[in-house]
């Protein structure tokens, strides 16, 4: 049994840290884990995808169409973009944040409306939260990645809150631990 999770967003939003926290939590739980990241050009404001897979024995580090159990998204349009990677009935946890992609900025396209409804119609379960606002409440908008991990933790009962927070502790600098702990809890109880 393998759990496959995609973390998607816009380059620079902090998906690398989110994937490392998730990978660490799964590793500490004794699972085999693989994480695939994106570096280089795509990071410059482009659409970025990180894959996290864990289970008894994981071979492939990537996820293709129909392979994901969960999508964690930092941005609404990016959640919609990857819905075809989700298994039927799979769960999306997404921030309600909207960032205009360059074609919208350049005026050649409109930011699509009704995305949550479209994702639901595509066969996904969708959980939307204002991760940016909660992160701000925790002390920094940069912590929206940990807010999302807090919310997502509800869907993985096999990993306890304490285990998650221990993974957060292992992955963030000491001086930001209190902020990130608060961000995780705000996400969890949102």
């Amino acid at each position: 049994m393998i759990t496959s999770i995609m973390i998607v967003g816009v380059g620079g939003q902090g998906s690398l840290l989110a994937s490392r926290v998730l990978g660490r939590a799964a590793l500490d739980k004794g699972y085999d884990v693989k994480v695939s990241e994106v570096h280089g050009m795509s990071q410059r404001g482009g659409s970025v995808v990180t894959y996290v897979r864990f289970g008894d024995k994981v071979a492939s580090p990537i996820i293709d169409k129909g392979g994901a159990d969960y999508i964690i998204s930092f941005e609404l349009l990016e959640a919609a973009r990857y819905v075809g990677f989700l298994k039927p009935g799979g769960q999306i946890v997404t921030s309600s944040q909207q960032i205009d992609p360059m074609p919208v900025v350049a005026g050649t396209a409109e930011y699509p409306q009704g995305l949550v409804e479209k994702m639901t119609a595509a066969g996904a379960k969708v959980d939307v939260l204002d991760a940016l606002k909660l992160a701000e409440e925790a002390g920094s908008i940069k912590a929206s990645n940990i807010v999302l991990m807090g919310r997502f933790s509800k869907y993985l009962p096999e990993i306890s809150k304490e285990e998650w927070l221990s993974a957060v502790k292992a992955c963030v600098p000491e001086k930001f631990l209190a902020l990130n702990t608060k961000a995780f809890e705000l996400g969890l109880f949102a």
Binding site: E37, M41, S47, V58, S60, P101, M102, P103, V104, V105
Partner: protein, 577 residues
């Protein structure tokens, strides 16, 4: 100790454990972190070389001097280093020498998707291909042992998915080999024809012995399957996808030593199975070898020679049921990468576009100047090609071309291989205008120092090459520096230098906005009463500016405060927040 580790970091751990003393590399995605991670071990001296050829020759020098050495590059970087490569194959090594080359199938961050395995065959150098982080570590250590045993440089071939995936590794201790004495040896190290003629047969004999090794080494491993209806030969990350699909249901020959390939081992494997398939990304390197043995095999008839593979693709191609999925949502706007808020390149490209310049481009973040709405770049080829390409373009185009055409090249790329192009302009004389986009860092690969920044890989003070003095020393009389945040100044410089009847260099100088030491300006807001919705600011393609209800709106969380948009506004609608 068990750790979750990035493939590149695991490779660096292998360098540490193998007792490597020196690493010299040029940054290139996806290879960069191998050297950055190696630099975290004080026992390994690490440096960024100006280019891959210099890096490889530096590593070779260290090997000849008696210490284990390393150099890393992306696939296209190996083209730059190909000259020393083919002859280091002849000289062999003293202490072990490993060359990491990282391919980028799918071109996540590259201009082509060439298959580096061809180089191993052509240069007659053994190549190991790890499939995950644990192998990146263990293969690296074995590569050094092979290098010394067979007196040859050894390739470690990575790819994006092995370099940038994390999986579990177990780390070990460092061994500290004694420095091997350097002994003068004309026939081994002086590759004049008389000596090289004696080395070539040694290389051929080495390949013969390595082929024997390939027959027995556990780097090439047969994994028995439940039934023998299908046997798959695979390497690198394809192995992981195959195992994901089939587990232990089919026979697998996992290739870890991809050059030289075994012969008898493949014949024996083929004899065990009813259907023989090779699964390999990019070119049919293994498949062609298998076919050359006279065996019936399928490969590229089932799988593409372009892009990356996945477990789902392999499953479908081999007749497994495709996975069901949620229905994809069609016609969503794409999100290509774009220049960052506050990027100093933006102002320069705006000016070039306004002047209707033909822009011969180069490799770096500024390649994004080719994307809409700026669409300011006409060509992108390889590192350094902007400067030399411009010279050829102008030689044929004459003065008409010289007055409208520029090269754009970053500071690091200029040091890499733009300098020699400028030498050609200075020597063979075209009235060319070269713009060096000096953002004081190697940007695209994630902020590495270079010879113009005054800092070494560790961020410590280092030698610094003065770009203005360098250009002047080459005989360029017209050298000027502009601030690309100042559009009027930049525009005047571009107009004057294009008109000048001699070669010129414009240095467009502003540090990358993402550098930690660069202070953000005050974010701007748009006064909606002043904004007339003319979209003058929108043509910059700044991710902080959007257009809503017929007015420009600034996202103040993203805005860097560079003020370039304000310079364009005819109604003075932008003000500091």
């Amino acid at each position: 100790m068990k750790e979750l580790m990035l493939g590149n970091k695991a490779l660096a751990r292998g360098l540490y454990e193998a007792g490597v003393a020196l690493a010299s590399s040029y940054p290139g995605t996806p290879s960069t972190e191998t050297t950055e991670e190696a630099a975290k071990y004080p026992e390994i001296y690490c440096e960024w070389a100006p280019n891959e050829k210099v890096a490889m020759e530096t590593a070779w020098g260290a090997s000849v001097a008696g210490k284990r050495s390393y150099c890393a590059m992306k696939h296209v970087g190996l083209n730059v280093a190909a000259d020393p490569l083919f002859t280091i194959s002849y000289t062999g090594v003293n202490a072990g020498m490993v060359i990491c080359v990282a391919d980028d199938p799918g071109m996540h961050s590259s201009q082509n998707e060439q298959d580096s395995r061809h180089y191993a065959i052509a240069a007659k150098i053994p190549m190991l291909e790890p499939s995950d982080s644990a192998e990146a570590l263990s293969f690296t250590k074995r590569a050094y042992d092979l290098s010394e045993e067979y007196d040859t440089p050894v390739f470690i071939k990575m790819c994006t998915r092995v370099s940038h995936s994390q999986s579990i590794v177990e780390t070990g201790e460092r061994s500290e080999p004694e420095r091997k004495p350097y002994v003068k040896n004309f026939e081994k190290y002086v590759m004049v024809p008389a000596a090289a003629k004696k080395r070539h047969p040694i290389v051929e004999e080495r390949t013969r012995r390595l082929t024997e090794y390939a027959e027995t080494t556990d780097l090439n491993r047969v994994e028995e399957g439940g039934d023998n209806s299908l046997g798959i030969i695979c390497d690198s990350t394809s192995y992981e996808y195959v195992k994901e699909v089939f587990g232990n249901r089919v026979w697998v020959l996992k290739i870890g030593l991809v050059n030289p390939l075994p012969v008898q081992k493949i014949r024996d494997f083929a004899a065990h199975v009813k259907r023989l398939v090779v699964v390999e990304e990019l070119d049919p390197v293994i498949e062609n070898h298998v076919r050359s043995l006279g065996l019936a095999v399928e490969g590229k008839s089932l799988f593409p020679a372009v892009g990356e593979f996945s477990q789902e693709m392999i499953a479908e191609a081999l007749g497994e049921k495709p996975a069901e999925s949620c229905t994809p949502i069609e016609n969503l706007p794409g999100r290509p990468p774009a220049m960052c808020s506050g990027c100093p390149h933006r102002g320069l490209f705006y000016v070039l576009k306004q002047n209707k310049c033909t822009v011969i481009g180069d490799i770096g973040c500024y390649t994004l100047g080719s994307t809409p709405p700026l669409s300011a770049i006409d060509t992108t080829l390889c590192m350094g090609a902007s400067v030399s390409g411009l010279h050829g373009f102008n030689k044929v185009g004459g003065s008409e071309s010289e007055q409208h055409t520029v090269a754009v090249i970053g500071d690091s790329t200029f040091m890499h291989s733009g300098m020699t192009g400028l030498a050609n302009i200075a020597y063979n004389q075209t009235n060319s205008t070269v713009v060096i986009l000096d953002n004081s860092i190697t940007g695209m690969t994630g902020h590495q120092q270079n010879p113009t920044t005054g800092k070494n890989l560790y961020g410590d003070p280092a030698g610094r090459i003065d770009l203005e003095a360098l250009a002047r020393a080459m005989g360029i009389n017209r050298v000027r520096v502009v601030d690309p945040y100042n559009l009027a100044e930049t525009d005047a410089a571009v107009k004057e230098e294009l008109a000048a009847a001699e070669p010129s260099v414009i240095i467009s100088r502003r540090p990358c906005a993402l550098l930690k030491e660069v202070k953000k300006g005050v974010p701007l807001v748009v006064d909606p009463d002043k904004c007339i919705g003319c979209k003058s600011c929108m043509c910059l393609g700044c991710p902080s500016i959007s257009f809503r209800n017929n007015k420009a709106v600034v996202d103040d969380t993203q805005c860097f405060g560079c003020n370039v948009c304000a310079e364009l506004c005819p109604k003075d609608a932008f003000r500091a927040i």
